[in-house]
Point group: C2
């Protein structure tokens, strides 16, 4: 049985303000929750229609109707868990780092977190305008990768100013990324979906690169930011 | 002023069955519609709150409230157009071709169409179980690229059986794609989001490739199919 105050807390966690205030976030579905339970994250409470057989003090059996009431999903999937938002680790600036300048779409952020996990990029820096990685849509899109990437929200301009390695950014008029020799250490900045990398950050970029277009060069479209990140990460990691 | 029969037709086009019956599809938003108007597609009718100044017989001015009534979007964007579904061109099998084996997510299909456009892949073959490319969500995700890629729904197994070039497929246990010498001609098959490439199609694949994982190799996740397609296309096109 769910109490009114439990329902109120869960519902409030849809909003970034309350996630930050409580330092809690919501994950849904058996697969996602199982992945998060296998990580270092601290579970606060699990509401589920089928027992997970974890610490009984943290597991609350609920009915399907109760789950419908608290779920953020159109089609709830058996369980909803509340986890504590972890602290972040210090940034190791001797390795590849991805930085996001105002990424707004939760699906794009989720895909980029999965890419970092796949390509072994440990640190993902996000400008303060970037969508919150504990947004429920991001959590659903990352499929557990979020526990393996150190995501840090910071003043991106200040960080880049103090950084002593190469800073790459993707631009339509950059140098062909396939013809660059790419370093062991460096930051790759990916820009906003509509506007690209901001002027302030562009001033700090040391290497402008482009993914060449092989199709109709008259066409105006750009690559989606998450697929552009896939190509750039693949290039950095594939080796010469 | 919208008539009841106009509203009924537009609403019916949410469903594949009626899109096929009428050979019509819906596009929304000024940017997407402008791109489609610039292509070879044939406009049937445009409903808009601001004049586009096109052929007056095909333009119907409507109110914001009327647009809300017919739009498939949560936030309608000034215009909704109905276009005729075009025929498709003959497949040129001397070049790179992408084939989709049961891609179900409209966003993934939209992203893959944009990738084909970017990387100059003219022909995109879709198994009959693949989501319809005239689904409104696909149209919104392709940003006009759909007019530059020849998308053909067919019996994929039969086509691959009759094809005489190399057929690539991505698998967890395939050969490192970064170490392959990739041909000028070939088909790349991308598999279903949950199950990968089906057994029937796997029997016809001549080259199993994998995108190496650089992160924690214990983790179970795979790359999203659209980002995997981005990496594979980039490899095929970048040159040695």
């Amino acid at each position: 049985m769910l109490s009114k105050s439990q329902i109120k807390l869960i519902t409030s966690l849809k909003h970034k303000k309350y996630r930050q205030q409580h330092a809690l976030f919501v994950a849904e579905g058996v697969k996602t929750i199982s992945e998060l339970l296998d990580s270092n994250l601290e579970l606060k409470v699990l509401y589920t229609t089928d027992p997970f057989n974890i610490d009984a003090k943290k597991e609350v059996l609920i009915s399907e109707n109760e789950l419908k009431r608290i779920s953020f999903l159109t089609t709830p999937n058996k369980a909803l868990a509340i986890f504590k938002i972890p602290g972040f680790k210090e940034i190791d600036d001797t390795r590849h780092i991805i930085a996001l300048d105002s990424i707004r779409d939760p699906g794009n952020l989720g895909t980029i977190i999965r890419l970092c996990d796949w390509f072994g990029v440990e640190h993902l820096l996000c400008s303060k305008e970037t969508v919150d990685c504990y947004n429920p849509k991001v959590i659903q899109a990352t499929m557990g990768s979020i526990t393996r990437v150190n995501i840090v929200y910071l003043d991106l301009e200040a960080f880049l100013k103090s950084y002593d390695g190469p800073i790459y950014g993707t631009y339509m008029d950059g140098q062909n990324v396939y013809k660059q020799s790419l370093p062991e250490k460096g930051i790759v900045v990916m820009g906003n979906e509509a506007n690209g990398i901001s002027k302030t950050i562009t001033r700090l970029v040391t290497h402008k690169v482009a993914i060449p277009r092989f199709g109709d060069v008259q066409a105006t479209e750009s690559l989606n930011v998450a697929t552009a990140a896939a190509v750039i990460l693949s290039e950095f990691k594939r080796g010469a």
